[in-house]
């Protein structure tokens, strides 16, 4: 086995044998396919084919017998061996095989041939008998001898027609009966002067034969009838003369000839012999067929009496039409039903079918055996592939290094060429056989080299396209890498304006190219698409921008919970949005921190104040108790007064401190309501009436309207005014006037307190409002110095404003309250 594997000869023989096996395999396979169903035909059709072949055989026998009968008859009648025979096959008849056997004496004039008239034999209707038909043509002294053979397996009559050019006597004909033939003579012989036979152009399914009796018109062609028949009056009639000695045969270009006495039809060309011995012919136009269908109807309209008789045998349908009228004529129409299996089918000519009966009997055996052999040999070829004398290991020979795809392409191209040898479109047996032969030769070789390539793992690499693709791929990869690198470098080296400018420039360039392309459609399309893209980008940019703007507004308004949604934002916008977010975070943290520290401060102040209050209570109480003690020392009494005053001041200071811290941090309830500011002023002045009077300070209220409603918290507003009036009581010049003006100012109601300070004011309004800063330099008179600060904070809590204006000794406080 090892030796065989290495032997080139063994492989060669195996390949040859395998080719033969494949050939048998393919042939049997094709036959089996044919037997079953390959071209849409049925199995029955093959049986029919066989029967056809058998029928041909019978036909041949019948022909021989008829031939013999005719010869013997001929010899008996003519007593001469001098004749020629011609075999004609009727090419018009596709559904059966008609043979015309023509026997012609070499010197007809030597014989005294009788003119036959009034004889006709027409025996189509007989079944299962061999029939001899004959026609006589008096003018040419011809005798047409038909031998019909009918075989029971066939569905249509098989006819052998023998034309015997000979004069026959009536009695002679009757004598011509042989054991296989029956000859009947008709009662009457209708043919007198001339017979015109029209064979219609072949219809695919039906063949028409028409016969006209033109006895009345002699040889004149019934022009008027034809014009009616074809629906045309004007058609060309060509005439030509024939030599007396010339054969009365009309050759037509397409080769088909049907000779029927003095009227000839061949492939739509009608010709007839007139009484002067001239041939006339006319061209039949294309609409013959359609008009023919209207024929019977026209006949009915044209002629006085009209009758139609139909008669059948198995496969033929004939009409006999008798007409009397202006143009007396008789029309015989014979129709043949076409068998759906055609005699021209390529299978019919197939040698395999024709002589393949025995082959067909063993077809499955052949198929099986050839398949087994193919497999066995193929296995050996596969196993032994790649081994040689050079090495124990499989290696690729020079042949195995030919690119595999090219090899396959050659095989395929040759296969196509083989199929193309047959000029007919489609695949028939010839193609199949040729293809089989080529594949049988090619397959073992391909198998051998494929196995060898697989073994040496050169299957893919040996392909030409692999090499080309790999080469191209490497090139593209390298190029792509370089381009990507260049683009990246370029992109990172230009700033944002450059990028947008670059995109715009590219778009403009594209537009320019589109405009120069001389195609308006292209230009419009490019610009449209470009606008679409830019529009989309613009819309996104606008959305992003509006988002950012909203975020900016929110942050500016102090809303620290707002976060910019940077999802889906374009590069630069996203960056900006993220920056805004981190600013917001920073601010939120800072605000929270400051709020926290403020709150802590307030809490600290409150708690400390509370803790201070308890010891202070004791101090105040004991000072009071001391006061009540009867002290002898006068100075001690004075000191106690100081203690009393200062402890009261401390008490006030502590309370103010708590209020100031709460008011400035907003840690206080504010209920804003509609409040009449005039009423508050009056109420407040009422509370201070005594104190003001004590200092001879006069208040003058100037209000444009009786009622000025503002949105404020009455208690806090009172506190503000209390503080202001308190200040007036403390710091206003004794005996001076205080003006209180109320009026509308923009969206506010303004309340202005104006008074003259008794001390010189060397400090600004803002400074006055700072905690512990006081208008006078002497800090130890009264009050905590927090009054104005508390007032301003309370005004702000009520969404109002407080302004202090110092103008020389004029001290002016403006309260701005929201209009109610």
């Amino acid at each position: 086995m090892k030796k065989m594997k290495k032997s080139a000869l063994a492989k060669f023989i195996a390949c040859i044998l395998m080719s033969v096996a494949i050939l048998f395999f393919a042939a049997s396979f094709l036959l089996i396919i044919c037997m079953f169903d390959v071209y849409g035909e049925k199995m029955l059709e093959m049986e029919t084919l066989k029967a056809d072949i058998r029928a041909d055989e019978i036909e041949r026998i019948a022909y021989n017998k008829a031939n013999e009968a005719v010869y013997s008859y001929y010899r008996a009648v003519v007593n001469s061996d001098e004749y020629t025979t011609d075999l004609y096959r009727d090419r018009y008849s596709e559904d059966n095989s008609n043979y015309a056997f023509l026997i012609e004496p070499l010197e007809p004039h030597k014989y005294d041939l009788p003119v036959l008239s009034n004889y006709k034999c027409d025996e189509w209707q007989y079944k299962d008998t061999h029939v001899v038909n004959f026609d006589t043509y008096p003018d040419t002294s011809r005798f047409t001898f038909y031998v019909g053979a009918k075989e029971y397996l066939r569905t249509e009559p098989l006819t052998i027609r023998q034309d015997v050019d000979y004069n026959v006597h009536e009695e002679d004909i009757t004598e011509a009966t042989t054991e296989n033939m029956k000859i009947d003579v008709a009662e009457e012989f209708l043919y007198d002067e001339g017979v015109a036979t029209t064979q219609a152009a072949t219809d695919y399914n039906m063949e028409m034969v028409e016969q006209y009796d033109l006895s009345e018109q002699l040889c004149e062609f019934p022009i008027e009838y034809y014009s009616q028949y074809y629906g045309i009056d004007d058609f060309p009639i060509n005439q030509f003369w024939l030599d007396d000695d010339a054969e009365h045969t009309l050759h037509v270009e397409d080769g088909g000839i049907y000779e029927g006495g003095n009227y000839v039809v061949s492939n739509g060309i009608h010709a007839w012999l007139d009484d002067k011995g001239r041939w006339n012919y006319l061209d039949m136009d294309d609409n013959f067929r359609t008009q023919y269908n209207a024929f019977f109807k026209e006949m009915e309209e044209t002629y006085d009496t009209w009758s139609c008789e139909e008669w059948y045998n198995d496969v033929t349908k004939s009409y006999v039409v008798e007409v009397t009228g202006p143009a007396t004529c008789q029309l015989n129409v014979t129709s043949y039903v076409k068998n759906d299996f055609t005699a021209h089918d390529s299978f019919y000519y197939s040698l395999i079918l024709k002589y393949g009966d025995t082959v067909l009997d063993y077809i499955y055996v052949i198929f099986g055996v050839s398949a087994v052999f193919t497999l066995l040999l193929g296995t050996f070829v596969v196993i032994s592939a790649g081994y040689g004398k050079k090495s124990d290991e499989p290696y690729a020979s020079a042949f195995d290094r030919i690119p595999y795809d090219i090899l396959l392409a050659v095989v395929v191209i040759v296969a196509i060429m083989v199929i193309a040898i047959n000029p007919y479109v489609g695949v028939d047996m010839v193609n199949a056989v040729l293809l089989s032969v080529w594949l049988a030769l090619a397959i073992p070789v391909v198998l051998l080299t494929t196995a060898a390539r697989l073994k040496t793992q050169t299957f893919v690499s040996s392909m030409a396209c692999t090499r080309i693709i790999m080469f191209l791929w490497r090139g593209i990869k390298k190029l792509g890498k370089n381009i990507l690198k260049a683009v990246k470098m370029l992109w990172s080296s230009i700033n944002i304006y450059g990028r947008y400018l670059g995109v715009f420039a590219a778009a403009a360039f594209l537009e320019l190219i589109a405009c120069f392309s001389e195609s308006l459609g292209l230009a419009v399309f490019v610009i449209f698409i470009e606008k679409l893209i830019f529009g989309a980008i613009l819309v996104i940019a606008c959305i992003n921008l509006s988002k950012l703007k909203k975020a900016g507004n929110e942050i500016a308004a102090g809303n620290m919970d707002f976060e910019v949604d940077t999802k889906g934002m374009l590069g630069a916008f996203r960056e900006h949005g993220e920056n805004l977010n981190s600013i917001r975070n920073g601010m939120a943290n800072a605000v929270e921190e400051s709020l926290k520290s403020e709150r802590m401060k307030t809490e600290l102040i409150t708690n400390v104040s509370h803790d201070i209050k308890t010891p202070l209570t004791s101090i105040i109480n004991y000072v009071d108790l001391l006061e009540k003690e009867k002290l002898d020392n006068e100075k001690a009494g004075e000191y106690i007064q100081v203690l009393d005053r200062q402890s009261a001041r401390l008490k006030k200071l502590i309370q103010d401190l708590i209020d100031a811290s709460k008011a400035s941090t907003g840690n206080i309830d504010v209920t804003l309501e509609k409040t009449d500011v005039n009423v508050v002023i009056n109420q407040a002045l009422g509370e201070f009436e005594d104190k003001l009077a004590a200092r001879s300070i006069k208040t003058i209220i100037k209000s444009d309207k009786e009622e000025y409603f503002v949105i404020a918290d009455g208690r806090h507003l009172w506190r503000v005014m209390e503080n202001l009036i308190n200040n007036i009581v403390k710091y206003a010049l004794e005996g001076s006037r205080v003006y209180i003006d109320v009026k509308e100012k923009d969206e506010y109601i303004s309340v202005t307190f104006k008074n003259i300070s008794k001390e010189e004011l060397n400090i600004s309004g803002d400074e006055l409002m700072e905690r512990f800063v006081r208008g006078d330099s002497s800090r130890n008179t009264e009050g905590s110095g927090l009054g104005l600060s508390i007032a301003r904070s309370l005004m702000e809590l009520q969404k109002g404003k407080m302004e202090i204006i110092v103008d020389g000794d004029l001290f002016k406080v403006v309260l701005l309250l929201i209009v109610g």
Binding site: S609, H610, D611, K613, T614, L616, T617, S618, I619, I620, N621, Y622, D624, L625, S647, K651, Q655, I658, E673, T675, D676, V677, N678, V679, V680, N682, Q683, A684, L685, G686, E687, E689, D690, A712, G714, R715, L717, W718
Partner: protein, 234 residues
Amino acid sequence: MYNILVCDDEKDIVEALGIYLSSEGYGVVKAYNGIEAVDIMKDEQKGKDIQLVLMDVMMPVMDGIAAMAKIRGISNIPVILLTAKSEDTDKVLGLNIGADDYVTKPFNPVELIARVRAQLRRYMQLGGGGKTENTDRLVYGGIELDDRKKEVTVDGEPVSLTPTEFQILKLLMNNPGKVYSPKDIYRLVWEDAPIGNENTVAVHIRHLREKVEINPSEPKYLKVVWGQGYKLED
């Protein structure tokens, strides 16, 4: 003689209060945290003798609010809370739980004594007040107004009012809780159009308050509704 329970963790304050109350003729029982106060109140002997409690709010061990709640379970004698907290919410909480009055530290001893006296008078002598059948008598809280006699008493103490002040008080007492604007008051009391003298009403109200209220700057009855007017409310 009435006995008063004084409770504060600050001994000096307790001592001072003791001195004040003693000088006014009250008996003083001292406690230094909430539990002590409650224990005293629970004591059958001592508890029965006590007619008023002065209680600090912020105390160790048990605070004043909790102690007061316990005392309220035993007795309904007047309780005055003393506290350093001056917020309104603290006051409301204390009063809601059952305090009768509320004094913020640092307090004025005179005011405190006045409040103690007022509470005791109402509790012991007037029995918490009650409506008399006399239609000419108007009573609101501790204020009693006799229209026939033209007399006004606060917690039993007679108060002398001018006719105008009397009319204003009568007006407010007729509809406690209703806010009268200065103009309304002027129109109804003076029976004249209030032109250019709105603060007359304010001045009268302040005078009235000084007479009726123990601490006029923190009025108990005559409340100012700033920007609206005045009302009588407890």
